[in-house]
């Protein structure tokens, strides 16, 4: 198990009802974190829609997560 801080943004934050939380997760990749926190953000499929950053650096869904990481879950962006 890894201790991961998960931050929720925009729609995900509204759905979760919280900004962030720290959880012990059995996760190898960022995608695993996304799947393990579906009870919070309410989304089942990140690929092609959502983005992820680890410790404030943009990452891919198959990027490995380490104990102590902060994983930022971004719903579909809509700048401009």
């Amino acid at each position: 198990m890894k201790q991961i801080t998960v931050r929720y943004f925009a729609l995900f934050r509204e759905t979760a009802g919280i900004d962030q939380e720290t959880r012990n997760l059995d996760a190898v990749t960022a995608a695993d974190v996304f799947a393990a926190t579906a009870d919070r953000h309410g989304s089942s499929e990140p690929r092609g829609h959502c983005k992820v950053a680890i410790n404030d650096v943009m990452a891919d869904w198959d990027t490995a997560v380490e104990d102590g990481d902060t994983v930022l879950l971004f719903p579909p962006v809509a700048g401009g």
């Binding site: 943004f9 092609g48 829609h49 943009m58 579909p76 962006v77 809509a78 700048g79």
Partner: protein, 142 residues
């Protein structure tokens, strides 16, 4: 350079920062809040941005533009917070020796900013409803 601003964007003073004696062309883009989107009447809008990652990702976009079109000066400001119809949500300015590179680089930057930066908007509709808007590419992806 890129920044997230909590206050109104002033394109005229921003474009002055791009003045250069060797520049013969300036192209500016502004995104304005319009009163309709996908068939619904919009009353106002809320932008949320995560600045630490947005700034880093914007630096990559500017570096990509600089490698394609050397010698240009570029700047972009994106709003966060509450915006009304007619407000400027984003400004991109590019100065360059010739107009072709100014137009192309300006277009490249706004296109990339829209799909890559962690920025979200929630529309408040005239009928009282509200909703988060999906970006164009994501909508196409399904």
């Amino acid at each position: 350079m890129f920044e997230i601003s909590k206050t109104a964007i002033h394109p005229d003073s921003l474009r002055r920062t791009l003045f250069d004696e060797a520049a013969g062309a300036y192209c500016g883009f502004e995104g304005w809040i319009r009163n309709h989107n996908e068939g619904r009447e919009v009353r106002s809008l809320e932008y949320e941005a995560y600045a630490p990652v947005a700034v880093l990702e914007a630096q990559k976009i500017f570096a990509e533009a600089a490698s394609q079109w050397p010698h240009l000066k570029a700047h972009c400001v994106h709003r966060e917070g509450h915006l009304e119809i007619g407000d400027c949500a984003v400004w991109v300015g590019v100065s360059a020796a010739h107009r072709d590179e100014a137009f192309q680089a300006c277009r490249y930057i706004i296109d990339q900013v829209k799909v890559r930066l962690p920025i979200w908007k929630k529309e408040h509709y005239v009928d009282g409803d509200s909703g988060w808007v999906n970006c164009e590419r994501c909508a196409k992806a399904g």
